[in-house]
Each structure stands twice: as structure tokens, then as C-alpha cells.
Amino acid sequence: MPADFNWAIGGEAGDGIDSTGKIFAQALSRAGRHVFTSKDFASRIRGGYTAYKIRTSVDQVQSVVDRLDVLIALTPRTVEENRDELHDGSVVIYDGSRTTMQGLDLPEGVVGLDVPLNELAEEAGGAIMRNVVALGAACEVSGFPIENLDSALQKRFGDKGTSIVENNEQAARLGRDYVGEEFDHEFDYELETTDADYVLLNGDEAIGMGALAAGCRFYAGYPITPATAVMEYLTGRIEKYGGHVVQAEDELAAINLALGAARAGARSMTATSGPGIDLMAETFGLVATSETPLVIANVMRSGPSTGMPTKQEQGDLNMMLYGGHGEVPRFVLAPTTVSECFWKTVEAFNLAEKYQLPVYLAGDLSLAVTEQTYPPEAFDMDEVEIDRGFVVDEETIADHKTPDGKFKPHEITDDGISPRAFPGTDGGAHMSTGLEHDELGRRTEDTEMRKKQVEKRNRKVETAIEREAFNYREFGDPDADTLVITWGSTEGALVEALSFLEEEGIEARVISVPYIFPRPDLSEAVEAAETTIVVECNERGQFANLVEHDVLERVERINKYDGVQFKADELAEMIQDVLGEPAEKSEVSQ
């Protein structure tokens, strides 16, 4: 595997860290390199440490590692925060007029490049371009031809006029030349380019794109990190397809607006994060009981309460599975990669309409903010199929009426799926309610009907298990003694951890589960393995508990709940610890 290269820019929030990182990531992607980005950000708008990290290779990269080759440090804090990831040969680009490397205890062999970023930016036309000067310097250090930067600069600044683009191109060149001329140093890196075409996007964008591909026409939401980007993506795009986004007054309104649109017959969704899911819980029950198709994306972050809004966690699984009073069927899907965010969103809309129930789409912060490269075919729109389920029209509705001509929206059927009539359909007028109801949707407390409706709603789940392929993804050695199971965004790190483990002579079978409920049967795989480890970003092992429940066997657990996603190399060590000596690391339990 060709060496991967790890790059970061860090500074204070408000320093333009994000857009600078994005320009470099785009330049790499357009130069045919794979990219995996991650963000370190605090919950504040100005001030506070922020970093944008890029891992790149000509091979696919799917996680972060604990290493930095080139770091652009706009503040001393940036160097401190990343000290442990620097190594002999790492390069730190900084502006001596603003930042110092003095007095920092750095690993031996770290090369500091004092580049007058501000001064050179002003020479190119304005201090605002100082980050772009730094990008130029980074190009020189990493042997990345600066021309690759130009199209990314064009994309970023094209709207602002050609002279702005040209000034930025000039700024980058000044940075490159300064490093070339002033430093007599051979750098180890040579970022090759390839002819491959990639697109670069994050999980929230993929969810939004999946919604558009699936024919979503209505979105209502209330801004919350890290789900807001879904709404931002849809705003301005959904209108092209005749749809609409409402920024609601709160999450209670958001889910109720989405519910109304869904009942009117539109494909409808909302997205939020944990605190918003809490607020939606009551209406969630109504969605399920009134058998309304609705997609609810929960882009998880650290909880409980306001927790750590800008940090990673997979802590809301129990809430999505069990949240809400009473017992109602729901599906819970959890995409494992950025591209799966797209495909699982499409699937969520189909499942919601086929089974007329709410579908949770469980993303998480890592997926949401991580940008990843894919060949465009990874989102082959010809593969998108739309199934609206059991919808009746003016003619077919006749088969679903009582002898005296009343439509039965909650008809008791063998597969549990009842006919759906969009409002406006002649002869279909009916009510629905969160109260227990009969086949006509009318309130009832009749004991037999109550049982029938409860069973009918639950029967849809049985039907889905029969008809759908709720399977898992598999990596590594299928015959290995060690089985590692995970769900959600941890897949990438785990897949990469495999190669670290191989170097240590450890083979493992990896199963990544994108369906939490209903979920695939894992008992055979667990029985075949000597050791089963479940890896997830929470403390309780919420998915591990489900696995134990399903297979009636204890499993080992690796849990991380410090707010940071798993890194491939770190995860490999944790797995080794579980397999070998008793764990010393505090994050590893059992």
C-alpha cells in the first residue's frame, strides 16, 4: 500500500480553517487522490482551537490515524494540540510574526518552516489570503504540483470574480516559492497524482443527496449540530424538484410538519441530533400508530443533555430502539460510510412507505463532517429504485371498503400492511389518530380490536424480515478465530485496523451491521468465532448488549466515549489488548 500522507491546518475558529482545508482536500481529490477528512472543532464560533485534517493516498483511505506529516499551525496551540502526532520528518508551517515554535517540546526531527504568511498574502493582494499562501507552501513541502490547487481555488472563489481567483493563485505561488528558495531541505513526500475522477462529500451531504434521489419533497428541521448540513444541502436544491424545506420553530414543529406532509402524500423527512430526538419522541408514537411513512435522521453527537455538541458518539441507539412510550414498530438503519449515507437514505424512504412506519436513519458526527472521495459511480443514480408501497387510487380503493362504502386505512391484513389513500382521492376520506383505532381509523377501546391493531402493526416487522435483506457487510478473513463486530461510522477505522493487525500476525473477521432493527442474525458468526469483540463509540456497549441478547453469549467490548472517533492504529492496539494481556487502557473495558 503506497504510503498515506497526513496533513492538517489548525488555528482559531474564525481563521478560515474549514474552507482552507476543504480547498486542499478538493485539490487532492481532483488530482485523483483519495481523501478522508476529519475535523476537530469546539462549540464556539470565534476563538477556540479548530483543525481540519486530511489523510490522503492513491489507495482508498477510510479513517484517521495518529500521525501528521505536514501541519499548518496558525496558532501555538495548534502545535501543542498535535504534538503527539508529529514525528521525525514532520513539517510545521507557521508564521513567525504571529506564532512561535519556541519553548514547545517537540519530537526530535520535526522541521519548522517559518513562512511570512501575512506579508506574502499582502504582496498578492490582501492578508486574507494568508491561508492560501500556507497551502502553496504545503504544496512545495509535499511535492504536490501547485497547478492542482488552481481548480479548487476556482471552485471556491470563482463567484467572486477572476481577479480574486488570480490573486489567490498568485498567493499560493508566493508560498511555494518562498519555501523552495528559503529552505535548503529535502522533504520526504511526493504526492503522486492519478487520472481517477473522484467526488468529495460528507455524510450529511450524502443524506441530503439520497433524499433528493429518493424523491423526498418535504423537509422540516430545526438547526442543530451536526445535522444542520442536511437542511442546508436540501435548501436551494429541493425546490428544483418541486419540494420545499421549512425551518421550523422547534423540533416538535419539525416532526409534526413532516408528519403532515407525509400524510398529504409527499415523501417527507426531518433530521436532527439527540436532543431533538428527545423532543420528537411523543409525535414519533403518533407517526407509528397512525402508520405514516416518515424518515427521521438522527445525526448523533455526544450526550446526554447538551453533552459535547461537536464531538463524536454513538450513544442514542437505545433511544432510537426503545424511545417513546408504549410499543410501536420502527426501523433503525445506521449507515456505515459516507456512500452508505446516500444508499441507506434511499432505502429508508422505501422502507418507510412500504411498511408505513417511521424509519430512523442513524448517522453520527464522524460521518456527518467527514468528507470522503468516491468515484461518481458509487452514487449511480440508475440504481435508485422507488417503491411507494400500497397506495390505492379512485379505482382500487373500492376493494378496501366496508360493505357500506367506508375506506379502511387501518385494514387488518395478513402482512400487516394496510392500503394508503392520499388525501384528495375520491371516496377515501378517513380519519387517523394516535388513539387506538379500528380499521376505519375511529377511536376504539374494544379489547379484540386493540389486540388486532397492535399485532397488525407489529406484523409489518415480520413481513419486512421476510421480504427484505437486512444483511451485514463483511471484511477480513471469514475463517478467523477473532470476530469483530461494529456498526455505524466505525467501519472504516476497523477495516483499516485489519491491516495493522495483519502486520502483528493477527487475522480477524470483521462484520459491520447497517441494520440495527430489524437486524441480521449474527449467531452463526459468533458461534464460529473463538472471541467476539463489539466495537462502538459509547460506554455502555448498546449494540454489544443487543448482540448478547440475540446470540445468548457474552462478547468482549471495546468502547470509546471521549468524544473522538476511533483511529485505525489505535483501534488495532485496542483489539490486540483484548486478545492478549488484560487491558491497561482505560477505554478498553473487560
Binding site: 420553530e249 403532515g260 398529504a264 403518533l286 443514480m381 380519519m431 388513539l435
Partner: protein, 287 residues
């Protein structure tokens, strides 16, 4: 839509379980008359109801409908209307439902000005939970949870609506059947959020705001020289706590509906069998 729709077509075959004499009977009849008079029929009408005695109205009417959760009927109605502007959308609930738990949605739906009708059956008490103070209860109104009265000034829903930029603000009395139906009809005909607060007495738990009280104290603005498009005049009447008014207090015929300002006029119900034809362009945006 057919022209031979009668208001009884909007009646379901469920017999209301409201207490005999409850104001909600008259409120509902007026709503059904208004719907029929405006040329609607059950198959193009969507009624969203809240929770409370008032919220049971969805059960007793016949149309497409959803009986929601407590206080959240308005956003459901807005979602229905935005997704299918061809439907006639009517939302109904009580004063607790609308001005207590749901007051946030009330303000924001007034602001949003989606073209729908909101009817609040205001009995100044919580009926369904058996007689606790509501936000419109008088400060000295003694109830099981407020033995000395709430000791808070009651909410003035019309003033809230006016302050939030309401474009149609009216009040009616359920037992003045003709006027009530007329006023609801005007609300339906209004392009925008038509809000009607209906005095709908609770004969079981409220012995203060009774039929007699309203009969004695109600002034119909139609009998005065009130000009509903005059916002200052409306403000004066709405803030006048010495009497109860019925009629259209305020109307802004020029205001743009939410749908107009967002360019929404087509139902969102039809979608293709697969991704849109130009969907690969969405992917290419990420180059």
C-alpha cells in the same frame, strides 16, 4: 368538488360524547356549514385536531383527518397544506391545546401565514382533564388546581395573533350559529392563516363563562362602525377588556401567503419511479 355537498356530509357516524349542552356541538356544526358553503367536500378536506374535548372534533367529522398530539395540530396542518395546496386544511383545538402547550406553534403559524383555517374552541377551562385552569381562565377563577384562581392575567389570543402579524383575526360564539358559521366561512375564504377564537362554553366545569355571560356581554363588531382592515382600530378593540367582541376584528387582504411567497402551488405527491433524470448532476457538484 361537487356543488351538491351538504354540511351533513362532513358528519361522521360517530355520535359525539360531548356533554349535552357543550358549546363544541355548535362550533362543529358551524365549521361543517362553512366548509360546505365554500364548496368543499370531505375528499378534498383535511382536518387536523388537537387533544382535549375540543380535539375530538376530528372523530365526529368526516373528511381526511389526523387527530394529533396535544398542542401540535398546527404544524401538522401546515405540513399538509404545503405538501398539497389543493386541499382545504382546517385545524381545530382547545384553548389549553392552542394557547398553553401549543402557544409556540400558534405564534409561529400566525407568522407563517399558510393558507389554512384555525378554529380554537375556547371554553376558558380544561375540559377533558376535568376542570383545571386554562390560559384564558380569569385570574380569580377557582378550579381544582387553582383553588384561589390562577392569579395570572389571562392570555389574550387575539392580541397574540395581532402582535405576531396575523392576517385574519376573528372571534365567534358557538351558540350564535349563523354568525359563527359566517365568520368561519370568511376565515376559510381568507387567503392566509384564518384564525377564529370561538367562545364554546363548557357546561360542566365552567360556571363563569357561560352562555348567559356571553349573550349578555357580546358585542358584534358588524353592528359597529368597525373597519377590520384598520389595524389600529383592531388593536383598540382587541385590547379592550371591558367587553367581549365577535366578528372579524382584523383582516389584511393584501398579505402574501406562505405558499405565495415561496412559490408553492403544486402538490408534492407525484414522484418518478427512480432518481430524477438529471440526478448525476447532483453527484458532479461534488467534483
Amino acid at each position: 368538488m361537487s356543488s351538491d355537498v351538504r354540511f351533513t356530509d362532513f358528519k361522521s357516524d360517530k355520535q359525539p360524547t360531548w356533554c349535552p349542552g357543550c358549546g363544541d356541538f355548535g362550533t362543529m356544526n358551524g365549521m361543517m356549514k362553512a366548509l360546505a358553503n365554500t364548496g368543499n367536500d370531505p375528499d378534498n378536506t383535511f382536518v387536523v385536531a388537537g387533544i382535549g374535548c375540543s380535539g375530538k372534533i376530528g372523530t365526529y367529522m368526516h373528511s381526511y383527518s389526523l387527530h394529533g398530539v396535544h398542542g401540535r395540530a398546527l404544524p401538522v396542518g401546515a405540513g399538509v397544506k404545503i405538501a398539497n395546496p389543493d386541499l382545504e386544511v382546517m385545524v381545530a383545538g382547545g384553548d389549553g391545546d392552542g394557547y398553553s402547550i401549543g402557544v409556540g406553534h400558534f405564534i409561529h403559524n400566525v407568522r407563517r401565514n399558510v393558507d389554512m383555517t384555525y378554529v380554537v374552541m375556547d371554553n376558558r377551562i380544561y375540559g377533558l382533564t376535568k376542570g383545571q385552569a386554562s390560559p384564558t381562565s380569569r385570574a380569580d377563577f377557582e378550579t381544582s388546581t387553582t383553588p384561589e384562581g390562577p392569579q395570572q392575567s389571562p392570555v389574550n389570543p387575539l392580541a397574540l395573533a395581532l402582535a405576531a402579524g396575523g392576517t385574519f383575526i376573528a372571534q365567534s360564539f358557538s351558540s350564535d350559529a349563523m354568525r359563527h358559521a359566517e365568520i368561519v366561512q370568511e376565515a376559510i375564504e381568507h387567503d392566509g392563516f384564518g384564525f377564529v377564537n370561538v367562545f364554546s362554553p363548557c357546561v360542566t366545569f365552567n360556571d363563569v363563562d357561560t352562555y348567559d355571560y356571553f349573550r349578555d356581554n357580546l358585542v358584534d363588531v358588524a353592528d359597529t362602525d368597525h373597519e377590520p382592515t384598520d389595524r389600529d382600530a383592531a388593536k383598540q378593540k382587541i385590547l379592550d377588556s371591558s367587553r367581549e367582541y365577535q366578528g372579524v376584528l382584523y383582516r389584511d387582504p393584501a398579505a402574501k401567503t406562505y405558499e405565495e411567497s415561496k412559490g408553492l402551488d403544486e402538490p408534492m405527491t407525484e414522484i418518478p419511479d427512480g432518481a430524477p433524470e438529471d440526478a448525476m448532476d447532483l453527484v458532479r457538484e461534488f467534483y
